[in-house]
Amino acid sequence: MLASVLVARTSRRSTAALWLLRAVGLLAVLGVLAPILVVVFSWSSEQTDIWQHLIATQLGGLLANTLTLLVGVGILVSLLGIALAWFTVMCDFPGRAWFEWLLMLPMAVPAYVMAFVTLGVFDFGGPLQRFLRDYVGQTYGSIDVRSEPTVIVVFSLVLYPYVYMLARSAFLSQSSDTIEAARALGCNAWQAFFRVALPMARPAIIAGVSLALMETLADFGTVAIFNYDTFTTAIYKSWFGFFNLQAAAQLASILLLFVALTLFAERRSRGGRRFVQGARLQHRFRFAVSPLTAWMMTLICSVVLFMAFVLPVLQLMLWALGAGAEQLNRRFFELLAHSLWLAGIAALVTVILALVLAFNRRQKRRFSSVFGAAHLGYALPGSVLAVGIMLSFTYIDNQFFIPLQRVFGMAPTPILVGSLLTLLAAYWIRFLAVASGPVESSLERIRPSLPEAARTLGAQGATLVWRVYLPMLRPGLLTAAVLVFVDVMKEMPATLLLRPYGWDTLAVRIYEMTAEGQWQLAALPALALVVAGLIPVIISIRQSRH
């Protein structure tokens, strides 16, 4: 698309620009593919022994667990995300303007933090069940919360904001007159939602849900806290238990295949459909709802917000206070600074790369679907991806930099592994998928006639990009940057393995504390992580209001 618009008058410079775009895009894709290839090459050796054992004992149960989890989380995040987005965009109810942005906050709570807070509050030994046993009766206070439904709810509470944010911006960008036209043609509010708004928002919603599902699929830390076994359990068992990284990578590649097929199928089913929007109106149309319904909406929003954000933050604050102020030392602020700094640069780099990839994909040339491979980094369990990246970068070190150092008579030391560059690469390799969702769906919503009109008015090249594309892409780019920023702050395995000496972050501290089962001591860094994650969320909300 962009190509046909921008390169209508093919000049030498714009051809050069296209090649440059393509080169950077390919580089980004190569970065993602390298660790994935490492994983796929694990099939070069047979690990029949472990496979037989897994199939004989656990694999069936693990697959069933994983599938239940995916279905459960998929349904719950869709319900929460879409319903809440629809309420806050299209209906009037008390507190709407507040909930509109408050409901994004749970995104800043890492799933593993939500998990250990949930256990702390609701487990058998937690305050709630103790209270029930002491004051209501023994039988009410003996529920094992470490069960399937709890795991599903925990994931859904922290992952629904992906769907909510993307669905919300899709609903917002649907012009009111589309809905009004539907109403004028005899649809009631429900029909207008199901037959017009929902299908139009589908690409955004699918993008959000697939992010949530990929995160669930690749998760290890959260399910480990509940001792709930999923497919990643088998991966970690092969690696940490049987010391067999090969078998672990083989298992991981199956996970990857599953995700790749799903993404491909989704793209196919969407086909060539495009939803082009009418003009945006200044005035927003909202449905009038009965007072009862309105208060119900307020109630639903409050409950979700309480469970997903207020409760965990309160519990973290309690624990942090209990752990004492001596934790607030210089080291702590160092960790905080590292987290912010890494997340900031990573967000910038990742969003730029996502934009480059999105432009490349829009060209609809042969092979442009290759750029879709950039999404796969998100589908691997963090540790497996981290090792894949580490192996590919070590390879470059060993094959290129070390011989070079020898030539110049320097002491050979790895240049890439353990450098900040590699850590940043790990972040964009992992989170390109996160950034691509909002970037691509906002690019898709730009009507071809707009740049065409701008061109007839004399805008071209850079002017076209800066004055037409960027302003229209800005909400999407901002959303992408926020998502990546927050995700990088929460990221653990790659940070652990690839950080340069001394570059410990809040997530590293949380890992160290939880590894020793000292969840109370993890509270302060976790709280700081949540609060720091809120900053970009709030900035983006303020921006999107202008």
Partner: protein
């Protein structure tokens, strides 16, 4: 025109990239001599004070990176002879055994280490050495269980404990090593029966951490459990009135019943790739000496490997125990077999 836009994007990337490279360039070895690099799966809080003391005493600086043993080992292997790591520290024997199997650790001979570290707690070929002992034993609810009713790990598989036992997940290496010790002491068949008996006796599904096991006993969810002693010590330090007691398993009678408490180690080995082997050896020897041994004991309530150093005051109240003398390398060798056994028994 478009070229400029694209060029600007690329320029930003390049600048960021250069900045990233620039910031991470390691400081050149300054006048104060060599610097050791340690890959550690002991967390910062439990190892940094020891490094600090070492630096204070010797002037040798230490840089370290902490992570799980699996990823660290993968990194050492990939880096091969170019690895900057001088020392690998883990929190269990299994991973040290594995590192030795993979050939990334250097066999060393040291009279100091031979004197300070008992033979069962180090590799025969001197590729790794224990630096602290972690005992895994029985804990019980003091208000519901009489210590006389307790005896051995095996006994917890008997029907009298049905619905009263709490365990941590089988995914934790501590439990894998414990089951490996059962295999050594009782043979495969009997060990598998014990594990199956444990699973039958579980009050609730296994927990994710030892802390949760202790909390569950305190809250009344179960009566007995198996934990590493320092978890209980830490909780007792916060809350001395905690109604959870500690029982030293397998102290009475002849082997195998009286083989002693199962112990694991946190240990270290010098890497093959190390360019500072003399300094690395100095650190390792120093870690087995009085200052560091005292640090290990007081930082995390673990037991010193060096019997010249006393354990902390807090854990002295539990008295002394005789430890299972199974060589630590067995824990690594049998780890895979132990996991298979636990999988077959349905111990998650």
């Amino acid at each position: 025109m478009m070229f400029r836009v694209a060029a600007r994007l690329v320029a930003i990337l390049v600048v960021v990239g250069l900045a990233a490279c620039g910031r991470s360039t390691p400081p050149a070895d300054s006048a104060s001599g060599p610097e050791l690099v340690v890959y550690s799966s002991r967390i910062e809080q439990l190892i940094k004070p020891i490094f600090d003391d070492f630096t204070k005493e010797t002037g040798i600086r230490i840089r370290y990176v902490t992570d799980d043993a699996g990823p660290l080992l993968a990194r050492m292997r990939a880096e091969g002879e170019n690895s900057p790591a001088d020392l690998l520290i883990t929190v269990d024997a299994g991973n040290l055994w594995q590192a030795a199997e993979l050939g990334v650790l250097e066999p060393i001979e040291s009279a100091i280490l031979a004197r300070n570290v008992p033979p069962a707690l180090r590799d025969e070929q001197g590729r790794w050495f224990g630096v602290s002992i972690r005992a895994r034993t029985i804990v019980y609810a003091t208000d519901r269980v009489k210590p006389e009713a307790l005896s051995t790990y095996e006994d917890l598989a008997n029907p009298e404990w049905s619905g009263r036992l709490c365990l941590r997940t089988a995914k934790k290496v501590y439990n894998q090593s414990l089951v490996a010790s059962l295999i050594v002491a009782l043979g495969h068949e009997q060990a598998e029966q014990v594990v199956a008996g444990w699973v039958d006796n579980l009050a609730v599904a296994p927990f994710a951490s030892d802390n949760k096991v202790i909390e569950a006993i305190e809250a009344g969810q179960c009566d007995v459990g198996l934990v590493n002693t320092y978890y209980l010590a830490r909780m007792l330090a916060d809350k001395p009135e905690l109604p959870v007691g500690l029982f030293w398993a397998n102290q009475q009678g002849d082997a195998p019943a009286g083989r002693g408490v199962h112990v694991n180690i946190s240990g270290a080995g010098i890497t093959k790739a190390s360019k500072h082997k003399a300094e690395a050896l100095r650190l390792l020897e120093w870690m087995s000496g009085p200052t560091a041994q005292y640090d290990f004991a007081s930082l995390n309530q673990e037991y010193p490997v060096n019997d010249a150093t006393a354990p902390s005051e807090l854990i002295l109240q539990w008295g002394s125990f005789s430890a299972d003398t199974m060589p630590m390398s067995e824990a690594g060798r049998l780890q895979g077999e132990a996991i298979r056994m636990m999988d077959r028994a349905g111990y998650r």
